[in-house]
Amino acid sequence: MANFQPYLQSPLVNFNLPAQTVPADASQKVRANELPLLGYIVLRGELADAAVAQAITKATGLAVPAASRFSSGEAGVLIWQSPDECLLVTARAAVPALLAACADAFAGLFAQAVDNSGGLTTVYLSGVEHVTLLRHLGVYDFESVEAGDAVSTVLGKAGALVCRVDGDGVFLVIRRSFADYLWLLITKAAIPYRFAVAKLPSAGKSPFLRLVDAGSPAKRPVAA
C-alpha cells in the first residue's frame, strides 16, 4: 500500500462540471453548479443549554440559529438541524482549526464536534424558475422559504437541506452518497427550463460562495 496516494475529489466529479460550465445569462431559467469540497462539521449538544450555545459561539464566532434557520459570519454558515444538532459549513482548509477550537470550547460539556466533510456537498440552484423546479422535486412549500431559512426536507427519494440566502437561488446541502442521484434528478427535471451548468456568481458577501474561494482545488494530494 506504499504507493497509495489519497486525494480529494468532489462527489460529482464524474459529471465533469468545470468543463460544462458556461457563463450565466437570462435565457437560462434554471441554473445549477456545485460548490465543491467545502468543509462540513456536525456540532452535537443541547442548543437550549446556554453553556453549549456559548461554547459554539466562542469556537465558531457564529450565533446559534433558531429552528429551521441558519446564521453566518467569518467562519462560514451554521445551520440548525435539530434541537441538539447544528451543521457548520466552512472552507475545507479551515476544518482542522475549527475542530480544535470546538474541542477546546466543549471541554467539560456534553457536546461534540465531528468532521463530516467527506459526507456532504453543496449545489447552488438559481434562475427565475428555480422554485418551480424544487416543486417538481419535493413536497415542501418551497415558495415559503425565506432568506435565512434552512429547511431540511426530501427531494425525490433523498434528503436535502434547502438554504436561501437571497431571492436569486438556494443552496442545497446534500449527501455525498445521493449527490449523483440528485444531480441527475435536477438536470432531468430542469430540461424544460433551459437548464445550464452556469458559472457561480462572484462571491461578494454570500456566506456560502465565499467559502469556495477559500477552499481547495478539484484534485489535491493530501497527507496520508
Binding site: A67, S68, Q81, S82, P83, E85, V139, Y140, S152, T153, V154, G159
Partner: protein
C-alpha cells in the same frame, strides 16, 4: 397523505418527511431477568392494534431525525396532537388511567 406537526422543528410538514415508528409507550418489564416468557413475549410481540384513537411514534427522518408521540385515529386518520415523548407520556398515562 397527511400532514404532521413536528414538536421539535415546530413546523407542520408532509407525511413523506416522516417514518412510522410503531406503537408508543410500550413499557419494558422492570426486571427482565425475572419476567416470565409470556410477559417477555407480550413486550416483544403483542401490540394493541386499536381501531380508533391510537398513540404511536413517528420519526421526522428528513428533518430533525427525532422520534415523537402522535395521537392518531386509525379510522379517520385525524390527528389529535403531537408531543415530544416526555410531554406525551403524561397525557398518555392520564388517559390510560381514565
Amino acid at each position: 397523505m397527511f400532514q404532521i406537526h413536528c414538536p421539535h422543528c415546530g413546523a407542520t410538514r408532509e407525511e413523506e418527511e416522516f417514518s412510522y415508528a410503531g406503537e408508543a409507550y410500550i413499557a419494558r418489564p422492570a426486571k427482565p431477568e425475572e419476567a416470565t416468557e409470556a410477559e417477555w413475549g407480550d413486550y416483544l410481540f403483542m401490540r394493541k392494534n386499536t381501531r380508533g384513537w391510537f398513540w404511536e411514534q413517528w420519526q421526522h427522518t428528513a428533518g430533525c431525525r427525532k422520534v415523537f408521540a402522535v395521537k392518531r385515529n386509525t379510522v379517520s386518520y385525524e390527528i389529535a396532537g403531537t408531543w415530544t415523548l416526555a410531554e406525551g407520556k403524561e397525557l398518555y398515562l392520564k388517559e390510560s388511567e381514565a
